[in-house]
Symmetry: C3
Subunit: 271 residues, 3 copies
């Protein structure tokens, strides 16, 4: 992997943007490798919410160029023995604590490689107890973006921490998924494939004991009506036009959402 163009690092943290934390990571990257392009994914992951970070990273990464390096910090275990990882997945690279933050991008990758960061050669000389984003992740990301082999940064590993996400389940005529993420607009993003909503659809969407009307644009929604729509990430989303589905339904992550097959059974029946 040669660095044939400007190295690009995308940052995702729970640091917020009111303090100097995200800026310090950028300063360290630019001190290490001045010709690096920096893009913020977000710094507003809810503090310590690894699952929200993992989802947001997985939602953003596919739209970025090959060879992008993602520097990711949602790290409640900073200062403990939890490892830090560098990973390669389908041509992009990632640096993050091993706490599930990378699990969604790694799970779907066709090719992946991981190392546990053990080589302090490019870390800052003094590593603090509370800010590995600045002291380890930033300088490692800066060097990874140069195209250096993963192996230079640590020991290959095969396992990584995953999140306990309820899997899709098919039972009779019902496909049960769940709310994977609540975005800042209050949209509920599920793990049910959006393709099933293509009209004419034989699937009915059900959430919280109610049937949810399927639309193809938000504007079709009536005031405060819960809608189902084929979302831009390829999954069924529940939404309220000009409003928050999350607030309207007091939705929680991992709430079940069901698709019910309404086609007539192919077999003959007496009814």
């Amino acid at each position: 992997m040669a660095a044939s163009r400007t190295p690009l690092i995308a940052l995702l943290t729970d640091f917020g943007t009111a303090d100097w934390y995200a800026a310090c990571m950028k300063g360290v990257i630019l001190r290490t490798r001045p010709q690096t392009h920096l893009v913020d994914i977000t710094h507003e992951i809810p503090p310590q919410d690894v699952a929200a970070g993992a989802f947001t990273l997985a939602a953003a990464a596919p739209w970025f160029p090959a060879q992008t390096v993602f520097a990711c910090v949602v790290d409640p275990g900073v200062g403990t023995e939890r490892p830090l990882l560098a990973a390669e997945a389908d041509g992009q690279r990632f640096v993050a604590p091993d706490n599930g933050l990378l699990s969604l991008v790694l799970e779907r990758a066709k090719r992946r490689a991981l190392v546990k960061l053990t080589n302090p050669r490019c870390w800052l000389p003094a590593v603090s107890h509370t800010f590995h984003g600045r002291d380890i992740i930033a300088p490692v990301a800066a060097e990874l973006a140069q195209g250096r082999p993963l192996r230079q940064f640590g020991i290959p590993v095969r396992r990584y921490r995953t999140l306990a996400i309820p899997p899709l389940k098919r039972l009779g005529r019902t496909l049960t998924g769940c709310v994977l993420h609540l975005d800042a607009f209050g949209n509920l993003i599920t793990n049910l494939p959006a393709g099933l909503l293509a009209l004419p659809s034989r699937w009915e969407v059900r959430y919280q004991q109610r049937r949810v009307r399927v639309v193809s644009s938000y504007e079709e929604g009536r005031p405060n009506e819960l809608l189902a729509i084929a979302g831009s990430l390829g999954y069924v989303e529940l939404a309220v036009r000009n409003g928050s589905a999350a607030a309207r339904c007091r939705a929680k992550r991992y709430d079940p959402v069901r698709l019910c097959d309404t086609s007539r059974p192919a077999t003959a029946g007496s009814s």
Copy 2:
């Protein structure tokens, strides 16, 4: 128009920065044209508030370089038949839905050209129903920033959607304008020319039946006093020192603001 320097794209959306939406637009731009500089105007336009987006864009654009491309998404009609526009105005370029978002920059332009986006060649292969910012506006902006002619992107049009802003009115000795925008500090930005406040001024400022004192710096204000000042956009602004004029006055967009001519009539009188 040749791309003689690094292409620059400025982004303005109502996506917020907590989610991946703005980042996805940046990823798509950089995947399309890696050597593009990106600057955020803001992603905090209040959701679906086209008028606030139009004002913010018009406030920022003149300070950016010629040839800057502005990628703008405040798009309550996404997924419906509303058109998307690419425009050229006084040497800068714009991509946005045709819902009034571009109206203020287009109205004041000395030269302008518009096309309705109809050529899907540079769009993403799959266009979603809910995220044209990523699927159409971002890749079109990336190519526009290369200096390609507007005509390559669609069909020339002459009309565009405008906003219903009350015009300035002169009646006798009174010039009536309105609050065009409330900024995040709570300043009220009007459409009355700031030049009229130049001292000694014969104009008295009136808002909500009260006379408003004219100052030349915020520090002249007394606690909680409503002030009028020549604003940095060239218009009269109403402000409270270290406070919010919007909150103090429960101000609303399009509230009338008056300038009253206090000079003696030039004609002879009996009084």
Copy 3:
């Protein structure tokens, strides 16, 4: 000082990111010098809070490359006669109002030089009363980042405004410092050297009449327990795991924090 690489400007303001103010500064910089890299430190300094701005700047600056220019605007006195400064401190450069905003970076600098901005040659042609960030600081920063000598921008001065920070005091076996800053997580950052907490430590931390337990990672904390930890800026910090020490303790800037020497006196005693 030659501009041997891409000029880098870091911005710190209290403008927020909802409006066009920060973007206008960037537009002006890029219009002046298109090949400039821009990094946001933050635009969320609490409005007019010079002390918070000074702390945040001092926390971020050391992690940025030499030759970085910091364009800083927390400027309650805009429009009055307060001077604007350009400064050089240990190889980095700063532009800001002379109101204490630069005092922390200047105080610790081994080498420093200052000028009062008096040369309007590179300012915008029309300088507003309310937005010197755009009209003066941005274009001066753009030129400073080219490596032009400080003297071209104004008159050398030696004095600058400082902040009234209570100094560290040693009395008997007690070292008294204070809370210098409350970050957005609610951590309390003091001016007491973190090195004193290195284990085994003879120092006990006291805040608000209570002893505070020293830990080496947040995860050691019990729910809602106030902790002391060696912070990433090199100072003692008080924190609550997954919570806000600021809210828990109703902490205020400049609250006293004490380190008490618990080692046995070296002199013989009767007890």
